[in-house]
């Protein structure tokens, strides 16, 4: 589903955030991406929906080489991915349900079907009763769950999340990871970036470990 081959990423500032990273994730796998702050997790995350482009190497998602994707094809790529951003990127000028409806509006769903899917996604993360609330009125963990609901409303085959449990207590973090595991169980490919080792050990998925931009564990034997 996702294949990185000798991927390096150097930001214009001169910082090399990823160095010669290679790995493959199969369909239906649950994979954790870990490493210290600044190791390159978010950078790797951003290469998958073509938010950033690799300096060298190739990133293939669902058979499509996204490192050389045409700008016009980017929207379709992103619609087929479930994305949970490190800073969530919720909109605070509208209700929870409207946040979840946003990606459905441009994916070509009729309003009724869109509303049905948005409710189903909120139900899945246990927030259906708060659909009319503004995200600002929710706790940090609840906001994380709104972001997850928005990511899965399209029913993507690939779900990637950047630190979805940051700043949460252990129980809330476990609850969120449980949601991801439930998606994996219905066949969704899940990639979660986190530096919470305890959480990873309890969940028991494959682990990719980054150190200063280099993949030191979990990658393909070169």
């Amino acid at each position: 589903m996702i294949k990185f081959s000798n991927v390096s990423k150097r930001y214009p500032g001169g910082q090399e955030a990823l160095r010669n990273v290679s790995f493959a994730i199969g369909a239906g796998e649950l994979v954790f991406l870990t490493g210290r702050s600044g190791a390159g997790k978010s950078t790797l995350f951003k290469l998958i929906p073509a938010i950033e482009r690799p300096t060298s190497g190739s990133v293939v998602v669902n058979g499509q080489n996204v490192s050389a994707i045409k700008p016009a094809a980017v929207p379709i790529l992103r619609r087929n991915l479930g994305l949970v951003f490190q800073d969530q990127k919720l909109l605070y000028d509208r209700s929870v349900i409207d946040n979840v409806l946003l990606p459905l509006a441009f994916s070509g769903f009729a309003p009724k079907e869109a509303a049905r899917r948005a409710r189903a996604a909120l139900d899945k993360v246990g927030l259906l009763s708060r659909e009319k609330a503004n995200p600002i009125q929710l706790s940090g963990g609840e906001q994380q769950r709104v972001a997850i609901a928005r990511a899965v409303a399209n029913r993507p085959a690939i779900l990637i999340a950047d630190e979805p449990t940051a700043n949460l207590d252990a129980d809330s973090a476990a609850a969120i990871i449980a949601i991801f595991v439930s998606f994996q169980q219905v066949g969704v490919t899940v990639l979660i970036a986190t530096h919470d080792m305890a959480l990873i050990e309890r969940s028991g998925g494959r682990v990719l470990r980054l150190e200063a931009g280099e993949l030191v564990a979990g990658g393909d034997p070169q």
């Binding site: 929906p49 073509a50 938010i51 700008p71 980017v74 929207p75 379709i76 790529l77 992103r78 619609r79 087929n80 991915l81 994305l83 951003f85 990127k89 909109l91 000028d93 946003l102 990606p103 509006a105 441009f106 994916s107 070509g108 769903f109 009729a110 309003p111 928005r150």
Partner: protein
């Protein structure tokens, strides 16, 4: 198709919501657009009316051929024959000097003046109605007739209509310039209001892009916003124009009646009015297009 349609409906509704959310500034924008449009449209209406007058007269150009005071009857008969055989003449009427004098006597205040004269100062004349003839040939014809024996003076009665026509041409150019300037102004006004709107929504735009919205999807509500604002402005402009004409006509009617005329200013033809409204809408769309394009380009490539 259904989804495409519902996306447009949503974009349209979103645009209306944005307008409603900023009622005061939307209203002011619409007023500015309306007044700016009413100016050239009003000029166009007045010129159209003037042209109607000019056309009515220049359609039937008249020539008055005055004979020399001492012209002999033979000259007069020869001239009449010459004129009646000319294919360019639609009708030739002979006005003897006595008849002209009698006509003049009927005019109030002139009778006393004429009574004071002991002889008729008027020459015999032919009043000629011409077939349709281009204005520039009228002058040549007048000169040609002036060279005939016995002819004292030839007057082309529609010369003023021709001057009016030329004046209208100049006015038309002036109005086209005014319209172009104001159209650019309207684009600038919409550009700016849409820019502000885009800036207040930049977070939504950023998130929508990250989640896979096409630029078309992002642009669409702003296009509607610009077009609706322009259309509303166009309609306000037409209303302002109609109101102004009604006011002007009150004055013009009483003035025209004293001249026994029923002249009044007529409003734009329905097609022209529709064109004004659609043009305003198009300008609004253009302003929105430029504004959103500049903003999206500033966001850089994906």
């Amino acid at each position: 198709m259904n989804a495409w349609f519902s996306q447009h409906v949503q974009a349209f509704k979103g645009a209306l919501r944005k307008l409603a959310a900023q009622r005061a500034s939307s209203l002011l924008n619409v007023l500015v657009i309306g007044i700016a449009l009413a100016l050239p449209a009003g000029g166009y209406v007045i010129l159209g009316n003037l042209q109607g007058i000019a056309a009515r007269f220049s359609l039937e150009p008249q020539l008055s051929v005055f004979l020399e005071p001492g012209a002999r009857p033979a000259d007069r008969d020869g001239l009449e024959k010459r004129l009646r055989n000319d294919p360019r003449m639609a009708a030739v009427r002979f006005v003897p000097r006595d008849e002209a004098l009698a006509e003049l006597r009927k005019t109030e205040g002139i009778a006393e003046v004429i009574a004071a004269l002991n002889q008729n100062p008027l020459p015999d004349a032919f009043v000629i109605r011409l077939k349709d003839i281009p204005p520039d040939q009228l002058e040549a014809l007048a000169a040609e007739l002036g060279r005939l024996p016995g002819v004292g003076h030839v007057q082309a009665d529609s010369a003023w209509a021709r001057r009016l026509s030329a004046l209208i041409g100049v006015g038309r150019l002036g109005i086209a310039l005014l319209a172009a300037l104001l159209a650019a102004g309207l684009v600038a006004v919409t550009f700016n209001t849409i820019r502000l709107q885009v800036l207040t929504q930049r977070e939504e735009i950023e998130v929508a892009r990250l989640l896979g919205a096409t630029d078309g999807f992002i642009r669409r509500p702003f296009y509607y916003l610009g077009a609706i604002q322009g259309l509303a402005g166009g309609m306000v402009g037409l209303a302002v124009l109609a109101g102004s004409l009604a006011l002007l006509n009150q004055g013009i009617r009483t003035l025209a009646e004293t001249y026994g005329s029923s002249f009044h200013l007529t409003f734009l033809a329905p097609g022209d009015a529709l064109a004004v409204a659609l043009f305003a809408s198009l300008l609004g769309w253009l302003g929105a297009y430029l504004s959103v394009s500049v903003y999206l380009r500033g966001m850089g490539p994906r």
